[in-house]
């Protein structure tokens, strides 16, 4: 029994997205409140995007949902904070943190995940990731304490006013940095040898081994890169005033990042980015304009959106429909 892939409906998604963009543009031109919420929604979406791409990275390589991604991001943000406490200024600390995050992610995969992976199923690895989440979040409190800390922001509180709408430099820079990080990663995967090896290891590990790719090192590399992306997300999040530097900092963001990754199609980084931006904007707009949705229902609404998308396209917006053959 075969189940054929769907007849080509690849025009639905771009059309839908185009329609959404048009709506947002029209709305923004007509109402400054709308524009304001859209821009700050995009900024939030940028943060979700970095974390979502980290999730996709690991999922593509190992089929594991890394529940610990948010906690690792928070940990690396604390590392950045500590470096700044020791005297480093922002951008050098940022750069160091990316390096440390990369190394840390690499080591974590080696020490915590690989032993489980070798002998267990995907679900065992997921449980190990949950254990890692508990461990990492706990260790932040253990090392640095639980009280709230101040994370300096590199962006001066400069506000651009365009047509009655206040855009902060912070918001715009967050969007820019998140997109740049994702772009750099994409370039790495498309145009470097190591990137190619990693993609090969993710898609066809056995074939990759045959041509000499060290598959297990590729997995560790993947975790390293994901941790670095998470560090970007964490630092952008901590720089925003609505997120305080505390151990549970990324808990809420992780949930939206998951939703974004799923909606985008867990195997598509571009999809995750688009979905993340969309979710960020939609959440802000729903809060502003839809009144019967009480504040507590904002999270369920995000999931209803996710569910609706999945019902229409079960592998996400940009995921490939699976063809199953007997």
């Amino acid at each position: 029994m075969t189940r054929r892939g769907r007849p080509s409906t690849s025009w639905i998604v771009p059309l839908g997205l185009g329609a959404v963009c048009a709506l947002l543009a029209i709305g923004s031109l007509r109402s400054s409140l709308f524009a304001q919420q859209t821009v700050s929604g995009l900024a939030n979406g940028g943060i979700y995007a970095s974390l979502a791409v980290a999730l996709v990275l690991i999922y593509r390589a190992t089929e594991v949902i890394n529940f610990a991604q948010g906690a690792i991001a928070t940990f690396t943000t604390y590392v950045a904070w500590q470096l700044m406490q020791w005297g480093l200024s922002y951008w050098p600390a940022f750069a160091c943190t990316l390096g440390i995050a990369f190394g840390g992610g690499f080591v974590l995969e080696l020490v915590a995940i690989r032993p489980v992976e070798r002998r267990g199923s995907v679900l065992s690895v997921v449980i190990a990731a949950i254990g890692l989440l508990i461990l990492v979040e706990g260790s932040i409190g253990w090392i640095w304490g639980n009280e709230v800390k101040f994370m300096p922001t590199p962006f001066p509180a400069h506000i651009y006013t365009v047509g009655g709408v206040a855009f902060s430099r912070q918001d715009l820079s967050t969007i820019a940095i998140s997109l740049v990080a994702v772009l750099v990663l994409w370039l790495f995967f498309q145009f470097t040898k190591v990137g190619l090896a990693m993609r090969a290891a993710a898609v066809r590990p056995d074939a990759a081994r045959l041509v000499g790719v060290r598959v297990s090192w590729m997995l560790s590399l993947g975790w390293g890169l994901a941790a670095a992306l998470g560090a970007v997300a964490g630092m952008m999040a901590a720089a925003s005033p609505s997120v305080l530097l505390q151990p549970s900092m990324m808990d809420g963001i992780l949930i939206y990042a998951f939703a974004a990754a799923v909606v985008g199609g867990l195997e598509s980084a571009a999809g995750a980015v688009v979905a993340a931006l969309l979710i960020g904007v939609l959440l802000n707009l729903v809060t502003t304009y839809v009144h019967f949705v009480g504040p507590a229902l904002q999270l369920p609404v995000a999931f209803v959106i996710m569910l609706v998308v999945l019902l229409v396209k079960p592998s996400g917006l940009f995921g490939r429909t699976r063809v199953r053959r007997v």
């Binding site: 190990a128 254990g131 979040e137 706990g138 253990w142 507590a296 999945l310």
Partner: protein, 325 residues
């Protein structure tokens, strides 16, 4: 036909374990009896998860949501309508079953990780919904219920746990169980063998959710209080951890999983081995360690122990007849 020696050994172990559990409260303080009752709650929830994930292969990370439905059903009926607490359990089970079927419907369309994340979303959404309709649920201030002695909770908890175990065992060794396992092992083969996937997948979710709802009701009775935070994400994750650490696809590992996930964190928190900040670090490390050393869970060890009690392995089924691979 003589039953295999393995089955007799299995039954003997079951009786001994039941006896130990039954007699244990005599040696325990009221506080420890309450703790024992909470282990029973996790036992039922993990058992429920095992049915849908271990036996039917449908991953669910959100069993806390079903527990919440049962828990709130019991709380609202008891608090607002004066029902007797035990009388609410069948209602909770029915509500859970309905919810399970509703969640199971997308399961027909989603697979693997998408299903897992959908259930994850449900687990997060349900407490928020409870917060929003605070008129019914008491919101964050919650609802208080009449309390019971540790002994009552323990006896009721383990009686229900035992009954659920027997029900599960009967369900899983029969045709339904074989159908579940067929769905897990190969959906396509199962379908071509005449197993209606839709019916069995939804049934698995329904039964599993009904059990989880009962666990949730008991949980609320143990704490004599309910509010949305009680059924947060941590609960779903702990139930999942317990199921995997105990060993999926095996009813025996459930007890080990429940004990692990309830006793270890509480023991660490209230013991003097670790500062309160170090507790999650240790617990997380232990979970990772257990997964590295025993990736198939405690049931794997138990299975090995009991397999040595069977006749020279000519049987196609493992000794206990309740798990199959």
């Amino acid at each position: 036909m003589r039953p295999a020696r393995g089955t007799v050994a299995g039954a003997a172990v079951a009786i001994v374990v039941a006896a130990v559990i039954g007699l244990l409260p005599l040696a325990l303080s009221d506080y420890h009896r309450s703790t024992g009752a909470t282990v029973a709650v996790y036992f039922i929830a993990i058992l429920a998860l095992d049915i849908v994930t271990g036996y039917t292969g449908q991953i669910s990370i959100g069993h806390g949501a079903f527990m919440a439905i049962g828990g709130y059903a019991t709380a609202i009926l008891t608090h607002d309508h004066g029902w007797n607490d035990l009388a609410t359990l069948p209602v909770a089970a029915a509500a859970g079953f309905a919810a399970g079927v509703v969640v199971g419907l997308p399961a027909l369309r989603f697979h693997g990780v998408y299903l897992a994340l959908t259930t994850f979303a449900v687990a997060l959404a349900v407490p928020q919904i409870a917060k929003n309709y605070s008129h019914f649920t008491g919101g964050t201030e919650g609802l208080s219920l009449p309390s019971h002695s540790g002994l009552w909770l323990y006896e009721v908890g383990w009686a229900i746990a035992g009954a659920t175990f027997v029900l599960a065992w009967l369900l899983l060794r029969g045709r339904t169980g074989r159908a579940f396992r067929a769905v897990r092992d190969s959906e396509i083969a199962a379908a071509s063998a005449g197993v209606t996937l839709a019916v069995y997948k939804t049934a698995a979710f329904g039964v599993s959710a009904a059990m989880a709802a009962v666990a949730g009701s008991l949980f609320v009775l143990v704490n004599s209080f309910v509010n949305p935070d009680v059924f947060g994400l941590q609960l779903s994750l702990y139930v999942l951890i317990g199921a995997v650490v105990g060993g999926l696809g095996s009813l025996w590992g459930v007890l080990a999983g429940a004990a692990f996930v309830q006793l270890l964190p509480v023991g660490l928190t209230t013991g003097h081995l670790a500062s309160s900040q170090a507790v999650p670090v240790i617990f997380g490390a232990v979970v990772i360690g257990v997964m590295a050393l025993l990736p198939l869970g405690a049931a794997d060890v138990l299975r090995a122990v009991l397999r040595s009690a069977s006749t020279r392995g000519k049987h196609s089924e493992t000794p206990l007849g309740t798990e199959g691979r």
